[in-house]
Symmetry: C2
C-alpha cells in the first residue's frame, strides 16, 4: 500500500551503512570508527554549563565553529561550511552543484552513498573504472565533464592520490566542479587544501567522525571558495536552518583546541595500520597499500573473503564484507583499532587459517 508515495520515493535506492550491532561485541572493526575517545576537552565542553542553554536554538550559522575551523586551516570563515556529518554536506553538494548537469562522474568502486544521492536528486551519473591496481584513474575522466567527485584516499580501497596528481588533474578540468572527499585524509594522505588558493572550482569535504573520534556527534565540514560555500548555505537554509545542535558545535570547537591529542592518536593509528599490514602479508594476505584508517585485504587462497568474514563474526569480531561490486568481493575491509585489538584480530585469523 504505497498509495501516498511520490514516484521519486518509490524510485529511491537507499544506502546501507555498516552494521551497528545492538549487543556488545568483542571487536568492532567494520565502520571505520576511531578506537580512541575524543580529547577530554570535548567532555568538558559538553558538561560545562550542562544543559542550561538547551532551551535556546543554536546559532544557525555555527559562526564560532566556522571561525575555529577557518583559523585552523588558515582560511576565511566564508570558505567554511558545516553540516550534520559530511553525509549531509555531500547531499547538499549533489543538489547545489551536480543537479541539472549532464552527468556527474565518480569511480566505479568508491563511497557507495554517491549513487544514492544522485538517485535522490534525479542526477545522471557515470562511473569510471579504477585502474588494474585499484587506483583512481584520473586520465579517464573526460575534461569537458562538468562535475566530478572522488574521495582521497578512496574508500573502500584506502588508496591515495598525491597532491601533484590532483593539481595536474585540476589544470585539465578548469570548467568542472571537482569535489574531493577527504573524510580519511588525516591518516597520511596529502590534503588538497593548498590548492584552494589557486583553484576556485574545488570543494574539499572533511569528517570529524574519523580522525577526531566524533562519529557519535555527526559533524562534517566543507572548504571552498566563498561563492561555492554560499551555494551550500542556500541549500541548508532551504532545508533546515539549524543542522548543528549546541553540543555538537561546542564539542567540535573543543576538538580543534587539542592538536597534540589529535596528532598523537592519528600517528598511533598509522603506526598500528602499518604493523597490521605486515602481519597480514606474513599470513599471505594481499593488502592494498592503505592511506586511511582501514585496509582492504584479500585472504590467502585457503579461505574466501565471505567465509573469513563469517568466521570472524562467529567469534564476535565484525569486519566489513562487500558482496558487490564483484572486483572487491574477494576482499574484506578492516578498520584499524588499537594495537591490542589488531593483535587480537591477527591471532584469531591465525586460528581460523590453521
Amino acid at each position: 500500500m504505497k498509495k501516498f508515495w511520490s514516484d521519486c520515493l518509490k524510485n529511491l535506492n537507499p544506502y546501507t551503512p555498516g552494521e551497528q550491532p545492538k549487543e556488545k561485541i568483542e571487536l568492532k572493526l567494520n565502520t571505520n570508527e576511531n578506537p580512541y575517545p575524543p580529547t577530554q576537552l570535548v567532555n568538558q565542553a559538553i558538561c560545562t554549563n550542562g544543559s542550561t542553554d538547551l532551551n535556546l536554538y543554536p546559532d544557525p550559522e555555527s559562526d564560532d565553529l566556522r571561525d575555529v575551523i577557518a583559523d585552523y586551516h588558515k582560511l576565511f570563515k566564508e570558505q567554511v561550511f558545516v553540516g550534520n556529518g559530511s553525509d549531509e554536506i555531500l547531499a547538499f553538494i549533489f543538489y547545489a552543484f551536480f543537479k541539472d548537469k549532464e552527468s556527474v562522474l565518480f569511480p566505479d568502486i568508491t563511497y557507495s552513498f554517491y549513487p544514492v544521492y544522485a538517485k535522490l536528486f534525479e542526477i545522471n551519473y557515470q562511473t569510471i573504472p579504477l585502474d588494474e591496481n585499484f587506483k583512481i584513474n584520473l586520465d579517464s575522466y573526460a575534461s569537458n565533464n562538468s562535475a566530478i567527485i572522488f574521495p582521497n584516499p578512496n574508500a573502500p580501497t584506502s588508496i591515495a592520490l598525491s597532491r601533484n596528481e590532483i593539481e595536474l588533474f585540476l589544470k585539465n578540468h578548469m570548467n568542472s566542479i571537482v569535489v574531493i572527499d577527504e573524510a580519511y585524509v588525516d591518516f597520511g594522505t596529502e590534503t588538497a587544501l593548498p590548492l584552494l588558493e589557486k583553484y576556485n572550482n574545488i570543494i574539499i569535504t572533511r569528517s570529524m567522525s574519523k580522525s577526531r573520534s566524533l562519529a557519535g556527534l555527526r559533524v562534517g565540514y566543507a572548504l571552498g571558495s566563498a561563492n561555492l560555500i554560499e551555494g551550500l548555505m542556500r541549500v541548508k537554509n532551504s532545508f533546515n536552518s539549524y543542522p548543528l545542535d549546541r553540543l555538537a558545535q561546542k564539542a567540535s570547537i573543543a576538538s580543534f583546541k587539542d592538536e597534540e591529542y589529535f596528532l598523537s592518536t592519528c600517528n598511533q593509528i598509522v603506526q598500528t595500520r602499518n604493523n597490521f599490514v605486515e602481519a597480514l602479508k606474513a599470513l599471505k594476505f594481499s593488502a592494498l597499500q592503505p592511506s586511511g584508517n582501514f585496509v582492504l585485504a584479500k585472504p590467502p587462497k585457503t579461505i574466501d573473503a565471505k567465509s573469513l568474514y563469517l568466521s570472524l563474526k562467529d567469534k564476535g569480531i565484525l569486519v566489513r564484507y562487500f558482496p558487490s561490486p564483484v572486483q572487491i568481493s574477494s576482499y574484506i575491509r578492516i578498520t584499524i583499532g588499537t594495537k591490542e585489538q589488531m593483535e587480537k584480530l591477527v591471532s584469531e585469523i591465525k586460528k581460523i587459517l590453521s
Copy 2:
C-alpha cells in the same frame, strides 16, 4: 560568479529564521523558545559517561528513542520517525509525499518554511486564505486535492482547530495525504493523535524544541501509519544515515521520563500566556485567542506594529515582526516567557505607549 551553481540552486528562496542575536540581550521573545531549561534528567543523561562513546556512530535507526516515543503515545515503534528537528522531517515529508503531486495546499498565512520546501523539491503549491478571523478555513480545501499540510495550532496566529473539525475534514479527504504539524500542540490544543487509529492518510509532526525545552538539541518526530513512516525512512537513508547524534538520542529519551516537569512547565506557560493576553487587552491591544506558546497581537491605534517592534528592540527586548504577508504586518508575535519576563515586557510596553 555563479558559474557552478545548478539551476535549482539559483531558484531557491531560503527561509529566514528569527534573529539569533550574538550578544546577550535583555529579553528574547522572538523565536518561541521555552523559558525553562529541560528537565534535570537531560543534564544527567548528557554527562553520565560523558563523551566516552562519542567515537562510535549513533544507532542509525534511533531504536531506543523511537521505542520510548511509541510507548509514550501508545503506538508501535514502526509508527514513529525521528529527525534532526521537525524541520528536517518536514523536508522529508515534502519529498516523500508531495513531490510529483499536482499541488500541495497550505494556508496563506502559516509556517513560512512550507513554500521554501516546495521550491527546494520543485513542488507546485497553492495557498488557501485564512478566514476573516485568521482561522484556517478547512472548507476551502478542495477534497480532490492530493496533499495538504497545516500546523495546529497555526503559526504565527496561534489559533487552533478542534479535533472534531479535523476529523470532519479527514472524512472528506480520504484520498489526500494530510500532514498536521503539531509543533505547538502541548500548550492547550487538542492533538489529532487519536485519529491515527482510524485514518491511514495522516502524519502528525512534533517538535521537542518548544514544550520540551530542547531547541538547542534539534530533535523532532513524526507519527503515522507504518507505511508512511517507512517512506520517510527511505528518504532519510538516501540522505543521511545518522541524523540524530548520540547525545540528542540520550537527552530526548531522558526528557520523556519526566512527565511531571513537562506538564508543570507547559501549564505554567499556558497560565502566563492567559494572564499576558489579559494585560495586552487592558492596554487596548487586540490579541488573537492563542493556543501556542506565543501570541499574535495588534497594538493600539497610537502605535504601529513595526514602531513598537523597533522601540522594544531599542530596549533590548526582541519580539518578531513580519513585514509580510500584509494581513499580519500590523501585528507583532510575542513568545511567552516566564511570569516575570512578561511582566517586564508589559511594563516596558506601557512606557512606550505613555
